[in-house]
Symmetry: C2
Subunit: 211 residues, 2 copies
């Protein structure tokens, strides 16, 4: 099976399965039936089976999945059997909120270097321990580091220039919070976070309910 | 066609199509071929046709879609032909970042009321114009208002209690930024924003690339 042919939606669901399985493991659940897992994740059982089938055979028919084993396999598939180091650019309200958000560390993502251009911020040590570097120091800071991801939390007007700096410094994957479409060379992965897409889902549900 | 049978992923993609079409409309594009629209949205043409087919016939074979017409129809389907008013709870770094984010207003979402419990914050007027109410005033503030959505930007430990308050005050749809799973009664729609799911996608891409 060529991994490159896996639909993006399957990868997103694997990520959701891993979160459900983590909760189950914490609750001490050892084996879970496939329909129970489906219910827990809010995804239909046939979809789970189809998603997992891309990667091999999991679970035992009539019994279910071994929680820790499946979690381990999914994490291996996603590349989460290692910690990922990230560079964060933009230490405003959003950047600060991201640094404080417990989910990142819990899921194995670490903000290893942080950048801003504000002279009032550069050189300050954050509560989370990092010292804020100037954007101009990026090449130097990232050189020889194992930082492979960049997170952009700047205003939209700065995002493209920041993306280019990150890429020039060797970053191959970018999580973009700025409300703008980034232009990047082939081989660079970009994920955009647009909260309003989620709101559109809610608007649709409310409209249907009222309809 | 029963709208309730539409897959959630289709609704999410409609939301993405509407953003692409808006950009096209701003660029002055009047008609776009279906494969060009697909390319612009980063989604394959067959998927777009399938998604739209749930709602009727759009576009002209061999010509394409009329940009403004399709945008209007998608907005109508999603319920975005009206403005949505929201209550925001938690005016920390994340809440402040959300209030400042240009995408919400641009997409027709307005933070009509904001809440916190910090005595140092309650009563303050924000740069965006709203006065911060105490959480205990929620019923009173929301009564008779047309606020139908709630946004939770509190610490995880407070999120469930806040959700219950929002629901008691008549909110039917919640966007949850707190890293916790909310328990809500049937009929209440919840969307969780988990940034790390996007990072998992990036981790997968990097892992495949490094293969």
């Amino acid at each position: 099976m060529k991994f490159s042919k896996i639909p993006a939606a399957t990868i997103t669901r694997l990520s959701i399965y891993s979160r459900c399985l983590e909760t189950l493991a914490q609750e001490g659940v050892k084996i879970i039936a496939s329909d129970k897992l489906a219910q827990k994740c809010g995804i239909n059982p046939a979809q789970i089976r189809k998603d997992l089938a891309y990667f091999g055979e999991f679970g035992i028919r009539g019994v279910g999945y071994f929680v820790k084993e499946l979690l381990f396999e999914i994490k291996r598939i996603l590349g989460l059997n290692k910690a990922w180091k990230m560079a964060l650019v933009g230490i405003g309200n959003l950047g600060s909120a991201l640094l404080a958000h417990q989910n990142f560390v819990r899921q194995g993502y670490e903000f290893a270097a942080v950048f801003d251009v504000d002279p009032a911020k550069v050189g300050r040590r954050l509560p989370s321990g990092q010292v804020i570097h100037h954007l101009d120091e990026m090449d130097q800071v990232l050189q020889g580091s194992d930082i492979e991801m960049g997170v952009i939390a700047t205003p939209a007007s700065q995002a493209q220039a920041v993306a280019q700096r990150l890429i020039a410094a060797g970053v191959k994957a970018i999580l973009n919070f700025a409300p703008t479409q980034l232009q990047v060379p082939e081989g660079i992965a970009v994920e955009n976070v647009d909260f309003t897409v989620k709101l559109d889902n809610l608007a649709y549900h409310l409209t249907m309910a009222e309809g």
